[in-house]
């Protein structure tokens, strides 16, 4: 058999592909990240805010884009498509077609002069055509890679851009290229397409100006969008007062061929409604829902806030038949029905919440690469292997497999890495490069010898700022021994020049005055490191983004400001010190807490990659809740699957199982945890929390008093044993969910109820089945079950939010009464079996475990991840991860994907021999510190502990754990004794820079 290749190709660079690439690269694999478009980022880059935290999408995503663009183990191949994959799992040859950008990617600096001078315009796709862009363009300002490309369709070939480009990057004749790449595995994440709203003719999209799609509305809300964040009517620019959102446009709709639910539209509509109201006070949003599907973590709370605090009006159980435009006012009148009642209401703007379609490229990829699609055109996967395509060695993540939200996508993106890595784990670290550096020059004690490089950035700086005079000024500053100018400081020949100057003038500090450190500091730091200087002996003055570009018409003032900025940078540079990143040893093993589906999956994923795992389970058996479930899910019984999984865990030589055991104490930190159990102490590099959750034990509806009242789990047992005799079955949803005590939605109960209802009907078609609910939340492809249940004659009755059905035992006969929102009256049913859809409750032990691990819980007492959107399986405390129902209730496939994700994240740590600490971290001046402890609680990373001073046991002092500190500096501002300092931002450095700012310049 051929050797495995330690490289992976990731196809599609939206948030899924980006996360996958970062995790692979951090796990010791080379990554080829292939993207069809010229820049990465996908749909998330177009979003304004994200639910349920209302985070700015670009703010949270941009650092990941920059990280992947910069990672030495990731090769970005943009503007490229996969043509063919040959070979066997572990050793594939992939053929790619790289479409020409007509710009030399090596030379383009992204300065944008070409686009400014380009004379032809076309619609800007990034802004959904609501704005124009030039024929030579970059999708959005923060794009990665920041390389312009020519859109041949629009370009008239006038030659202006080539003339304007000082870097000589424009190459009109540049050809498409065929590429061949060797990889061990492939992960597909080409994402989704939005539904074409034109296909719903009755809503008038494309015809009526004031009917827009949700993604257009997203751009309208964005500060970087066409309207700068002010919501305006496209017809007349007025701020709309009444805005209607129509849900399920291209979802749950058999007529247009998309019978499935798109899973995300309810939440994004609520978010857009909230944000629109925030941007334009007085704006009144209304949302027309069939069901409000707020099933994710904290979603229900968000929904409630939208209604109660933001006044978002929600029309539940409604269907909009048509939209008509008033030809005079361009207002829109909606005809909608709720039950049998039909109404009309006028709005100023209508937003169509368009659903998700499979990636446009999906069919072509499926044919060319030989994997199956499901009946809706999404990538086919199985409940028990949600990350595998039908072709071995090719994996999938994100919305290409089913519509899903960002956190689920990100967890899967990490999850797919575990599957690919298990296949090629023996080839880890074979294709990655480790940079060798010359030894560092010791500059401690030397007088500062500062070199200042001032950049023209073509004409971006030089066109406004008088660069030669800034250079002359720099020469007069204390400590500066060299100052010079560059046309492009970032070009590779300039890097060589900088290195030469360092040698020639024995420079020991370098200042570059050019663009922004956010994108370019690492490049220059790398350059000076190559010349033997510690990378922290570097300072930047941003005289482009924050000077020449914003003061284009004030060259004199801009020049004066540039001098000031250079003076400030030099003042700090004089005081810069080399910072060391210390190395912390890492144990190549993990602890997994919880032996259910999530825990066993994570343990196996880690073990399959060759690392030892300790699996701690509090019961006397493995398998958690699911091992008791006989009822079929997918094409098999969870119990059978679980037994198989237990067998694999037992057989794995890398897994040590600790049954009837529990965590007693946790010490140490990332890379070196010490976990105490009754069996002894376990050392591990990472910890995964997978402690699960429980079914709620109802205290209502005579449960436990009357044998005819059961939970869904108990019903499944009856179905399985074929002992179900009832002729009239009533199911009540949200028992122990969405009420005052437990306000959250338990996510899985609707689908379980509907599935069980189908089984009852199939076994006995004459049995009456009623499902009493507030909303039916059968999201994604689970909508198929809802439809099937309806077809089989299951009756659905909606009762209002804030109420619950009641029960009475009248002379031995159960009577259930609920208010029917369609009939608008009480309906009474006499069931001979009442099934309670009991919610999911968090483990009682969560609080204690959370305290030991020093990780937080959400207000619902589930574990709280580091970031609800982009770090769904990480805790803020490094080295500890989260999976399964301990995080939030979820289905089998979701649990598996998330558990694999947690395993991957743990492996990014334990596969390393050592971790490097941050350079910019806090440090304690022990002479001054008196151990008052003010700093300890302000640190979000638990990096500070108050310990006894070893030299003086009566004295306390603060100690910073360098492995945990992220270098934010909050402890420095908190310290009452000025004992805490932030390396690189020390008090004296801060004062040097601000004193220089106050000096009168020239």
């Amino acid at each position: 058999m051929a050797d495995k290749v330690g490289a992976v190709m990731v196809v599609g660079a939206g948030i899924s592909g980006v996360q996958t690439a970062l995790d692979l690269a951090d796990s010791g694999f080379k990554v080829y990240l292939v993207e069809k478009k010229a820049s990465i980022g996908g749909t998330m880059a177009q979003l304004d805010k994200t639910f349920p935290t209302n985070d700015c999408s670009m703010c949270i995503m941009a650092p990941k884009l920059v990280a992947v663009g910069r990672h030495q183990n990731v090769e970005l191949i943009t503007g490229a498509e996969v043509e063919l994959i040959q070979g066997l799992p572990g050793d594939f040859t992939v053929t790619l077609k790289k479409n020409t950008l007509r710009v030399n990617e090596e030379k383009c600096t992204g300065c944008g002069e070409c686009a400014i001078s380009c004379p032809v315009e076309t619609l800007d796709e990034y802004n959904q055509g609501m704005k124009k862009r030039k024929a030579i363009f970059v999708a959005y300002p923060q794009a990665v890679p920041l390389v312009f490309s020519i859109d041949k369709e629009t370009c008239i070939g006038c030659g202006i851009c080539a003339q304007e480009c000082i870097a000589k990057a424009v190459e009109y004749e540049r050809k498409d290229q065929a590429l061949e790449v060797q990889v061990g595995a492939v992960i597909l994440s080409p994402g989704f397409e939005e539904f074409d709203a034109r296909l719903k003719k009755e809503y008038g999209y494309g015809e009526f100006k004031n009917v827009v799609t949700s993604i257009e509305f997203e751009r309208m809300l964005s500060a970087t969008g066409p309207f700068f964040g002010t919501v305006m009517r496209p017809s007349d620019g007025d701020i709309p007062r009444k805005v209607a959102f129509i849900q399920c446009v291209g979802s749950r709709d058999e007529k247009v061929g998309n019978p499935y639910c798109s899973s995300v539209c309810c939440m994004y509509a609520i978010k857009e409604a909230i944000i629109a109201g925030e941007h334009s006070p007085g704006l009144k949003p209304s949302i027309f829902f069939m069901d409000v599907r707020a099933f994710g973590k904290e979603f229900e709370d968000y929904r409630a806030r939208a209604e109660n605090e933001y006044g978002v009006k929600m029309y539940r159980g409604s269907r909009v038949a048509s939209v008509e435009e008033d030809p005079e006012t361009k207002n829109l009148s909606l005809r909608y029905s709720i039950g049998d009642e039909t109404n009309t209401e006028e709005f100023d703007l209508v937003v169509l919440s368009v659903g998700m379609r499979p990636a446009e490229d999906g069919e072509r990829l499926s044919k060319k690469l030989g994997f199956k699609l499901n009946k809706y055109g999404f990538c086919e996967t199985d409940v028990y292997s949600p990350l595998n395509t039908s072709r071995p060695g090719i994996f999938v993540s994100g919305s290409f497999a089913a519509p899903k939200d960002i956190p689920t996508t990100v967890a899967e993106a990490s999850g797919a890495v575990a599957k690919a890595a298990a296949l090629i784990s023996e080839a880890r670290n074979t294709q990655v490069t480790v940079k060798e550096f010359v030894p560092e020059i010791d500059v401690v004690g030397q007088e500062p010898r500062i070199g200042v490089f001032v950049c023209h950035c073509g004409i971006n700086i030089g066109g406004t700022v008088n660069v030669p005079s800034v250079v002359e000024y720099a020469k007069t500053l204390q400590g500066v021994v060299y100052a010079g100018e560059n046309i492009f400081s970032c070009s590779s020949d300039t890097q060589e020049k900088v290195k030469e100057k360092i040698k020639e003038h024995s420079l020991n500090r370098v200042v570059v005055a050019s663009c922004t450190p956010r994108t370019h500091e690492p490049l220059f730091q790398n350059t000076i490191r190559e010349a033997g200087l510690n990378p922290y002996l570097f300072e930047m003055a941003n005289i482009r983004d924050q000077c020449s570009w914003i003061h284009m018409h004030e060259p004199e003032k801009a020049t004066k400001k540039s001098k000031d900025l250079v003076r400030m940078a030099v003042a700090k540079a004089r005081l810069l010190e080399p910072l060391k990143k210390s190395k912390l040893g890492v144990l190549h093993s993990a602890v997994v807490i919880g032996g259910g589906l999530a825990g066993m999956t994570a343990a196996l994923d880690i073990a399959d990659q060759g690392y030892p795992v300790h699996l701690i389970e509090k019961e006397k058996y493995l398998g958690g809740n699911l091992i008791k479930i006989h009822h079929k899910e997918g094409d098999r019984k969870p119990k059978d699957f679980m037994n198989e999984l237990v067998g694999k865990v037992r057989d794995s030589k890398n897994i040590t199982v600790h049954l009837d055991s529990e965590v007693k104490e946790v010490g140490g930190f990332v890379g070196n945890f010490k976990v105490k159990t009754p069996d002894g102490e376990i050392d591990a590099g990472a910890i995964i929390v997978a402690t699960g959750a429980n079914e709620y034990k109802p205290s209502e509806y005579l449960y436990g008093q009357d044998k005819r009242v059961v939970t869904q789990l108990e019903l499944e047992q009856q179905l399985d044993e074929k002992t179900l005799k009832a002729k009239q079955v009533v199911m009540i949803q949200c028992v122990g969910s969405r009420n005052e005590k437990t306000p959250y939605c338990s996510r899985i109960c609707c689908s379980n109820a509907v599935k069980n209802a189908i089984d009852i009907k199939k076994a006995s078609p004459t049995t009456g089945v009623y499902i009493l609910h507030k909303d039916i939340r059968t999201y994604g492809f689970r909508e198929d079950l809802y439809r099937e249940a309806g077809d089989l004659g299951v009756s659905f009755l909606r009762f209002p939010e804030g109420t619950m059905p009641t029960i009475e035992n009248k002379a031995g006969q159960l009577e259930v009464t609920a208010f029917d929102t369609v009939l608008k009256e009480d309906v009474m049913i006499r069931p001979d079996l009442l099934v309670l859809s009991a919610g999911i409750t968090p483990n009682e032990g969560n609080e204690e475990l959370a305290k030991m691990l020093k990780v937080p819980l959400s207000k619902d007492k589930f574990f709280l991840e580091a970031h609800m959107k982009l770090r769904p399986v990480d805790f803020a405390t490094e080295g500890i991860f989260l999976a399964g129902a301990a995080h939030w209730p979820k289905f089998i496939d979701e649990t598996i994907a998330q558990a694999s994700g947690a395993a991957t994240r743990a492996i990014t740590i334990i596969c390393k021999d050592f971790l490097e600490t941050e350079g910019i971290i806090a440090a304690v001046n022990e002479m001054v510190c008196n151990g008052c402890g003010v700093c300890e609680p302000v640190c979000e990373y638990k990096a500070i502990t108050i310990v006894k001073d070893p030299s003086n046991p009566d004295k306390l002092k603060a100690m910073v754990n360098e492995g945990l500190c992220k270098g934010c500096g909050t402890c420095v501002a908190a310290c009452p004794s000025a004992a805490m300092e932030q390396k690189g931002f020390k008090d004296q450095q801060m004062y040097a820079i601000i004193d220089a700012a106050l000096q009168e310049g020239k």
Binding site: Q546, A973, P976, A997
Partner: protein, 257 residues
Amino acid sequence: MSEFEPKIIIFLCNWCSYAGADLAGVSRYQYPTNARTVRVMCSTRVSPQIVLELLKDGADGVMVTGCHPGDCHYINGNYYTERRMEMAHRLLKLTGLESQRLRLDWVSASEGEKYAGVVTDFVKELKGLGPNPVHKDAKLASRLKAAVDASKNFRLKVLSSKEINLISKGNAYGEKINQQSVEGIMEQATEDEFKASLILQLTNKKSQSVKELAKELGEPTDRTIEHVVSLRSRNLLALDHIDGATPKYKAIVTGGA
């Protein structure tokens, strides 16, 4: 004729506001040249002391910008920033310098236009206020010095860093304290520490009586007595001599910086 051009220092957090300021540049929003920017990793690094020191040294305006609440790259850093700047504002009000000279604003990575607008607006406001009079007004200078000293004070540092946790997470007894009462405590502590610092300044070179101090502090003499008592018990103020029936006090200079 040259118009007054205010000198402004703006602190930008690396992750949101600095990116927003960059975006303003990328989008070519034009705004006045007055601001000199200082990048920090997180706005939470900017202590009240730093901003007050800048105003004391003659900056016409100081602005601190960070991620919007909830967006902080370091989870909660900006909440601390908010509380600390609140304290700086309280101190500033006590000095008599216009408190509008210190601004806190949130600018996200996508708010280039907002950033340009905020800076433009700040410049306009400062032009309306005119130059920072600190170099021409010895009294103000000494009050600003007192504010700087107070901002370094142990008690205020502790309170301003503990405030959030007391309100949101609970105190040592597991009780949550309501925001109003914490703010009440802060308000009082800030005023007390400011006045204490001012008394130490006033008595540094020349001994002063309670009446003289009360006049400078602009408060009833019985309040001043409280400060004097407290400073004496902290061993920072000593009785210098008694002038007739009037005791005069002098600051105890301990040397060092």
